[in-house]
């Protein structure tokens, strides 16, 4: 068999695919680094970071922090609430717990635009039409998936280890923090990452919850900037897009090694 021949052919095909895959980014990058950008796909005559300067100042800078608060807040709250409920769910024999969790997950298949209206009314009544409200609402919507995934990850931690630790005199808190959490680190990373990017990308909920420009996260800010009448500043828009996309990409690469093991868990347990 002509093994090197076929493998070279595969390599060429794969490289070709990778090039196609990243080619749409050309427009984004060419315009972001072009201070005289017109929104066309062209080789820039000038090169500079002016657009990025615009994209971090004033309102745009505040929107970045709003997004960070919403995304990190949602991810952390989801994981903390999720862990403290998923550990008992995994260890105590509560009758019907699996059926219950799957029912919740099924219920969450309701398109989020459907629950938006009751959520909005409740937030309005309790004065939560702000970032805290967005964080709580997103955590509520995340919770079924978070619980199911975390419970599955805790199920894979062998109970014998916990028994051994108990015999050695460890308390519940020590057992959880020293054995269970470190052993399901990959799973927790996956759940945190999903909640983070989900909240970071979330568009509809903050659009309806955030009433003033100061409270806009980047997703809404970007959409609003694009919809504004008059001349669209493509340089600003593309630079802002890159800054908006960067954290989610960075978080992924930080957690990458954990992610791949975590995915195996998602696949096996479903």
């Amino acid at each position: 068999m002509d093994n090197t021949g076929t493998s070279r052919l595969t390599a060429i095909a794969l490289t070709f695919m990778a090039v196609i895959w990243v080619s749409p980014f050309s427009w984004l990058i060419l315009n972001a680094f072009n201070p005289l950008s017109t929104g066309q796909l062209e080789i820039p005559k000038a090169f500079g970071f002016d657009n990025f300067g615009l994209a971090v100042s004033g309102n745009a800078g505040r929107q970045f922090f709003n997004s960070i608060i919403i995304a990190a807040g949602t991810a952390t709250l989801s994981v903390v609430v999720g862990i403290s409920a998923a550990y008992p769910l995994s260890r105590l024999r509560i009758p019907g717990r699996n059926a219950f969790l799957w029912t919740l997950v099924l219920l969450r298949m309701l398109p989020s635009a459907g629950v938006l209206v009751p959520l909005y009314f409740a937030a309005q009544r309790s004065g939560l039409l702000n970032q805290l409200g967005v964080i709580i609402a997103l955590t509520i919507l995340n919770l079924p998936f978070t619980l199911l995934l975390l419970k599955n990850f805790f199920d894979t931690v062998p109970i014998e280890l916990e028994e051994a630790a108990y015999v050695e005199g460890a308390s519940l808190l020590q057992i959880v923090t020293k054995i269970v959490l470190p052993m399901s680190r990959a799973g927790i990373a996956v759940v945190w990452f999903f909640s983070f990017t989900g909240a970071w990308n979330e568009f509809l909920l903050p659009l309806i919850f955030a009433r003033v420009q100061d409270a806009f996260p980047m997703s809404v800010g970007l959409y609003a900037a694009f919809g504004q009448q008059g001349a669209i500043n493509y340089g600003f828009l593309t630079a802002f897009s890159i800054l908006y996309a960067a954290p989610a990409i960075a978080v992924y690469f930080l957690l990458r090694r954990n992610m791949n093991t975590g995915f195996a868990g998602v696949g096996v347990k479903g």
Binding site: T10, A11, L14, T15, M17, A18, W21, V22, P24, F25, L28, Q40, L41, V81, G82, S84, A85, Y87, P88, R91, L92, R93, L104, L106, L107, M109, L110, P111, A113, G114, V115, L116, V117, P118, A122, I136, I140, L143, P144, L147, Y166, A170, L172, N201, F203, L204, S219, L222, T238, S241, Y244, A245, I249, Y252, N260, F263, A264, V266, G267, G270
Partner: protein, 296 residues
Amino acid sequence: MKNQVNPWLTGNLTVLIIGMLPAIVLICALLYFTAWAFAFSFTDLALVGRKSVEWSWVGLENFERLFTRRGFLESLWTTVIFVFFSAIVGQSVLGFLLAATLRGTQSTLRTVVEVCIMLGWLLPDIVAAFLWSATTSQTGLINQLIVVPLGFPPINFINSYALPVVTIANIWKGTAWSYLLFSAALDSVSREVVEAAKVDGATPFQRIWLVQLPIIRPHIATNMLFITIWTFTYFPLIFAMTGGGPGRQTETLAVFLYNQSFSRGNLGFGSAISVAMLLIVGFLSLFYLRLLREPK
């Protein structure tokens, strides 16, 4: 029975229950909101105007309108096409082929391809929508690089081929998930089994089709379940690219739901649409779960 031998659990039951409380409260809130969404589907509640305050129960009228008025059935068909081609055909098949091919290649190339595919997945929906609008526009990459050099007049893809464009954009965006899942699945197939098939003279195609695919069948069902549900209710990419247009060509159910609820303000009818979507997705999930449970 394990409960009796786990004294660190039974001795701390109160602590464990207190730990579960926040989640219980939030889950109750979720159930409460969902119940209201169901209830709204039997009313004529509106976003603004008189009917936003003095709404009344209208029975099954909203559900009758799903079938008697134009819109819902067309949107359902658009959604089916979008889900079938972008998720089931595009993302799954491409993701599996990539996972199977990349296993055998050297690590640098593997990392490069992986990173390229991941970039699409990690990109926020709104940015991805901008990117694809720009790439398929009259002066965009495809026209400048392929259509015009071949001597054709530039094509405004997003107007002329809206549904194929959003479908391709979604394949571009979502393949990474299927790739990661299949990659992890193929790692769980033991090397010995594949080697044994090789020794017995199975071709590479046979090794994939007759050995690896049956073993990872549960993973395939899981993947189908997740991506079908996600794509079925997927909203931001299409909304930001086309808003459902031109005409109604790309108005999937999620966009139809948004347009009815928030552009036209028919919250009652909108809720009926989301209940119908939930039922459809529920049936699909049961189908996939059966596939998952069946013994090999």
